[in-house]
């Protein structure tokens, strides 16, 4: 599969090269930058500075869906891992009921939203993930999280045995790029999209043995 894509890519490159011999290749980086800056304007809380890319987004954009080489991906993942702040009080789980509300809520950060504060944001989780079995309106961009804790053998989230899964999950929510440089998941903690309390509620939704997710 991967080889085939490579072959197609190189054939395309040959084509482009063929054209280039007739006319100078446009400076696409410059044209792209010019196009983006001339096409967008501020609206509400969504300002044009949102177009600025950090290293990770720049690299993943440039890859156009292909996997990054390890030499590029690893530093991005290491930096992301370092960015993660574990909960100050050492408590990882909140209330799964609040977590379910956040998971259902698809609002936040658009130019029609009034505030960019975490309190105004939903988790958008069901947009991409199956979570409880009761909610049939769920997306499939991300993996199913139904039975997330149960499948990982979490019977007591406070136990030492559960610690690795709990910390992995917190890290994933805080900054998904820690494990996958081009993850499609928003960096909820790192980006200031959700606060610690909200993240704890989401943790409870998928890890609390009492949550419907783990029934």
């Amino acid at each position: 599969m991967k080889t085939r894509r490579l072959v197609i890519l190189s054939a395309f490159a040959a084509l482009v090269a063929g054209c280039a011999s007739m006319a100078p290749t446009p400076d696409y980086d410059a044209l792209m930058a010019q196009m983006m800056s001339s096409s967008f304007r501020d609206e509400g809380i969504a300002k044009v500075d949102r177009l600025q890319q950090d290293e990770a987004n720049a690299a993943c954009s440039k890859a156009q869906g292909a996997a990054l080489p390890d030499s590029v991906a690893n530093p991005i993942q290491e930096a992301a891992l370092k960015s993660v702040r574990m909960p100050a009080d050492g408590v990882f789980l909140g209330d799964w009921r609040e977590g379910e509300k956040l998971a259902q809520n698809g609002r936040g950060m658009t130019w029609t939203d009034k505030s960019a504060a975490p309190g105004a944001n939903g988790g958008n989780c069901y947009n991409c993930h199956q979570i409880t079995q009761a909610e049939i309106s769920f997306g499939t961009i991300g993996p199913s999280l139904y039975n997330y804790g149960k499948l990982r053998g979490v019977t007591d989230p406070r136990s030492a045995a559960a610690r690795p899964v709990v910390e992995y999950t917190w890290t994933k929510l805080w900054n998904a790029k820690a494990y996958n440089a081009c993850s499609g998941m928003p960096r909820f903690g790192h980006g200031g999209l959700l606060d610690e309390t909200q993240l704890k509620h989401l943790m409870a939704l998928i890890l609390d043995p009492k949550s419907p997710v783990n029934q």
């Binding site: 054209c19 006319a23 446009p26 696409y28 044209l31 792209m32 196009m35 983006m36 001339s38 096409s39 967008f40 304007r41 501020d42 609206e43 969504a46 300002k47 044009v48 949102r50 177009l51 600025q52 890319q53 990770a56 987004n57 993943c60 954009s61 440039k62 890859a63 156009q64 869906g65 950060m109 658009t110 130019w111 029609t112 960019a116 958008n124 069901y126 947009n127 991409c128 199956q130 079995q133 049939i136 309106s137 769920f138 997306g139 499939t140 961009i141 199913s144 139904y146 499609g184 928003p186 960096r187 980006g191 999209l193």
Partner: protein, 265 residues
């Protein structure tokens, strides 16, 4: 056949969760089929045809001399070849930017003022009708965007880059939702727009009547709301990035049959 086998295998593997998902998808398919007959977009098509033929604007002229790419006044088949390069403006234009050119040159309207008008207001209402009718005149035809002009190829490449451009607080790009096959957001199927996603899907389904809001949405409005949900800043109406994305999606949709104006959630 192959598809069925894959689904059958998946059901066996994933058990009850997927079986339920399947029935929800069936339910939605049934719902859409029940709505297929009697698309309110027809009401907008009738309006659009009238707007094309009626003398309007400061110059009291009709749009009948407008060249949508296939010669003055030729409407049939024009939609499935847009966006394309126009020599008289020396620009690659999509349907809506081309309509603005004609409204300005033939009828004397202020194109910049219309571009600044919010969707669903003033002359933007005319755009809803015009795009509905003009797309309907190409219903059943296959997309076949020209790529002969250097600017058309250049715009395609820029569109591709824009499609994969990640940014904003959620790190989303167009590809976040539309870069893979067979994905959904909630219950809505997401067309894979990096290739031809099939007849009447993705680029080949807009403009469309949105049942959720009871509004007619042009491709420009569709893209505008995509960027809103992508948590990006506001793309200008007929801005370069929106036209480049149109070229990218339109060229990728080569051979797909247009069902526009379609009926959408």
């Amino acid at each position: 056949m192959r598809h069925t086998l894959i689904i059958a295998a998946a059901v066996v593997l994933a058990g009850p969760a997927l079986a339920q998902q399947k029935s929800a998808a069936d339910g939605i398919a049934e719902y859409r089929a029940m709505l297929a007959d009697g698309n309110p977009a027809e009401l907008f098509e009738a309006k659009g045809e009238d707007l094309w033929k009626k003398k309007r604007g400061p110059k009291n002229a009709s749009m009948e001399q407008c060249d949508l790419g296939k010669g003055q006044g030729v409407v049939k088949g024009a939609f499935v070849e847009l966006p394309r390069y126009f020599a008289d403006t020396a620009k690659v234009q999509d349907l809506e930017s081309r309509l603005l050119t004609c409204m300005e040159r033939l009828q004397g309207f202020d194109a910049a003022a219309i571009a600044k008008t919010p969707f669903g207001k003033g002359e933007q209402l005319s755009m809803e009708g015009l795009t509905a009718w003009i797309s309907a005149e190409s219903r059943g035809l296959k997309f076949n965007l020209p790529q002969a002009h250097a600017d058309e190829r250049k715009t395609y490449e820029l569109g591709k880059r824009a499609f994969f451009y990640r940014g904003g607080p959620y790190d989303f790009s167009c590809a976040s939702c539309h870069g893979q096959p067979d994905k959904r957001i909630r219950l809505q199927d997401l067309p894979e727009l990096t290739r031809n996603p099939g007849n009447g899907v993705g680029f080949a389904a807009w403009p469309a009547y949105r049942v959720s809001s009871g509004e007619m949405w042009s491709m420009q409005r569709r893209l505008n709301d995509c960027y809103r949900q992508q948590r990006f800043p506001y793309p200008g109406y007929v801005s370069d990035v929106t036209i480049a994305l149109g070229v990218y999606m339109g060229v990728n949709a080569q051979g797909a049959e247009s069902i526009a104006p379609a009926l959408k959630r």
